[in-house]
Amino acid sequence: MMKTIFNNQIMQLVSPLILVGCILFSTAAPVNAQKKERTRLKAYYEKLPNNNKKISIILTQGKGKSISGVQNSEVIVSTVAADSTLELATLITDSQGETALYVEPDYSFPKNEEGYVVINVNYNGNDSLRASKRKIEFLDLNLEVSLNIIDSVKYVEVEAFELDNEGNKLPIEEIDVNMGVKRLYNTLFLEEAETDEEGIASMEFPDNIPGDSSGMITVVVKLDEHDDYGTITKTADIDWGTAVDYSIASNDRSLFGDSAPLWMIISVAVILFGAWFNFLLAVYKVYQIKKLAND
């Protein structure tokens, strides 16, 4: 009797628990099985020297030291126009998870009420990776570079402005711009200045910068990763550098030239000749053994 009551009471308590457990287990199992890794999108706006606009995108997965790019994945770039979203392009990431959208200068992005261009970047995820998105906003700033010589002193003048709806210039003050010259691998930055109330920053250009054989250099002016304006680069070519003759005499015998130094050729020849002469002498002696046997 006691056994029956005990069993019944136990069963009444345990049965719902088992049921709830089964339900939880049955729902939890697929969730665990489909656990997806988190992805992260980064996007940057940049205006190139030719006035093309570039939206650089990086899609990554993992965290900490194990971050790696997500390759061959579709990323959708769109812009917000009034209340609707306008899809601009669908891009595929490369082996490092990077891709970029280039926009021609004559295309003008729709702007919101505050004058900002809004770009949305979306990644929809897949079986193993979660979806992610990124929004960037920027204002369309223009930089104009003029190169002047005043009293034998060279100046690089930069004008920063936005255009209103009628195309009038609106000067932008308190913008930090860098000035430098293009070198073989990177830009050598020389000076930094802030635009005044007229949107103009003026920087003196030094006299001792090496140029090509005719003194030509490429002056670079850059606004770097500004919160509102992104990165803007402008370049201008001018003969303000000192002329440098880069030609190398082609007949020089040197370690890194076309012809080896004579001492090296002679040394190698002597060593090789000495070794091979002795080797052939040894072979000849063994050949004589065979000859003696035949005789």
């Binding site: 370690l255 070794a275 091979w276 002498l281 040894a282 063994v286 003696l292």
Partner: protein
């Protein structure tokens, strides 16, 4: 020659090479061929899928392959160098191991260069090295040195076989040899009949080759060292590299000879040929070399340490940090510099088995030392590696590289197994002459008495 009872006796004592392969022999061969085939499969995958399936990347462009290349070439040059010195020095006690030394040289020289080819992203361009060589390039020096040395060493090895081939040819009927053996020995003995004139010519040829092989191997391995030393890299750009390489080569060569002698002694019942004194002699050589190695290593380090630059410091941090290369570094130092001094230097530890064990440990230590010489250096360039994935900065060998490494070892052992079936592993004719001389000396003493 066949009428000489001493020669017949020695040949009879060492005719195990003619015996029918045992079951154990066949199993060993099949297992080694299987390992070699795994390596071929890995090679196929590497060729079809590219270097992406190896651990090598943009920064660490050299890995286990180049470690094997340097290590195996060291063994080869060591074999030639030691054999040449023993030959010219007329070192009598070393005669039984002469053939092993020459075989190590040739087999290593055949296998080693393949590893450098495995490092090439575009192996189809290998012929450009010969079509458009630049004599200023250390790579060209190395190519010339390896090719020259390979030809010299193969011919040298063959010349040392001539007397034995002649002996075998003359005993072919008595030993009931198969037809192919008779034909083979007849052709390759070159009609050698041990006449005084023939013997003089052969000895002259061997002396000449031994004399040119010694400088050739020293130059060849120095060239390989300069291949590293000419690079303006921390850990490589050192004037001590060439002698250090030669010393390491001799060290590894002595260790390998001890190991191979012990294997033949155990499997071929050659206790009377490879005696305890052989192991003791080479054991002491091992100990002395370990002390020299320690001296070179310390000298190289202390010179740099006094003017340690930032990048050099970060390389040494990697060596000393237990979470990076610390364990490998300390282990290799212990195995290379301290273990031989302890085991061979203290009489209580010294025995044939302990010497053989130490030789194996030294070989492992020297391989690890080569790894530490190459991989951490490539992971530590002067310009910091930025904005790349961690697995591109830090090298880790894949199963492809390990399979091809094992395939090389398997091929090396297979070469030894097959060549051991061709002729005795000890130069019987040379030993016969040695015993004849001893007998002559004894008889003279008897006459005088």
């Amino acid at each position: 020659m066949s009428s000489n009872p001493l020669a017949n006796q020695l040949l009879d004592e060492n005719k195990s090479f003619m015996e029918k392969p045992s079951f154990r022999w066949k199993v060993s061969v099949v297992a080694l061929i299987a390992i070699f085939c795994l390596g071929l499969y890995a090679l196929f995958l590497q060729i079809t899928e590219g270097h992406l399936i190896t651990g090598m990347r943009d920064h660490v462009v050299w890995g286990v392959y180049i470690v094997n290349f340097v290590f195996i070439l060291g063994l080869s040059y060591a074999g030639a160098l030691i054999a040449g010195i023993f030959h010219l020095g007329r070192v009598k006690w070393a005669i039984p191991m002469q053939r092993i030394l020459k075989l190590i040289t040739v087999f290593s020289l055949i296998i080693g260069p393949f590893y450098i080819l495995l490092c090439l992203g575009r192996p189809d361009r290998i012929f450009d090295l010969f079509l458009y060589p630049r004599i200023q390039s250390p790579i060209i020096w190395d190519v010339i040195a390896i090719v020259t040395d390979l030809i010299f060493c193969i011919v040298y090895m063959y010349f040392t076989y001539i007397k034995d081939f002649a002996l075998l040819r003359d005993n072919s009927e008595r030993l009931n040899m198969s037809n192919w053996r008779k034909k083979f020995y007849r052709i390759f003995a070159l009609g050698y009949k041990n006449t005084p004139k023939q013997e003089k010519l052969l000895n002259q040829a061997l002396d000449i080759l031994a004399a040119i092989i010694i400088p050739t191997t020293i130059i060849a391995y120095s060239l390989l060292a300069w291949l590293f030393g000419m690079n303006l890299k921390v850990g490589w750009h050192s004037s001590i590299f060439a002698p250090f390489f030669v010393l390491s080569a001799v060290y590894s060569g002595v260790a390998l000879v001890i190991l191979i002698m012990w294997i033949y002694r155990k499997s071929g019942k050659l206790e009377n040929t490879f005696t305890d004194s052989h192991f003791t002699h080479l054991g002491f050589a091992l100990m002395v070399l370990s002390l020299f190695y320690g001296y070179f290593y310390f000298s190289d380090y202390i010179t740099d340490w006094y003017n340690m630059q930032k990048t050099y410091g970060s390389l040494w941090e990697k060596y000393l940090d237990l979470s990076q290369y610390g364990i490998a570094f300390y282990s290799s130092i212990f195995l290379i510099t301290f273990l031989p001094a302890i085991v061979i230097g203290i009489p209580w530890f010294r025995s044939v088995k302990s010497i053989v064990f130490t030789s194996g440990a030294v070989l492992v230590g020297l391989w690890v030392a080569r790894y530490l010489m190459i991989v951490p250096v490539l992971e530590t360039p002067y310009l910091p590696i930025q904005d790349v994935r961690p697995d591109w900065v830090n090298y880790s060998a894949t199963w492809i590289e390990w399979s091809l490494s094992l395939a090389g070892i398997a091929l090396f052992i297979l070469f030894f197994i097959f060549i051991s079936k061709l002729a005795p592993i000890i130069p019987v004719s040379e030993m016969k002459e040695e015993q004849e001389e001893v007998k002559l000396d004894l008889s003279l003493k008897t006459d005088q008495a």
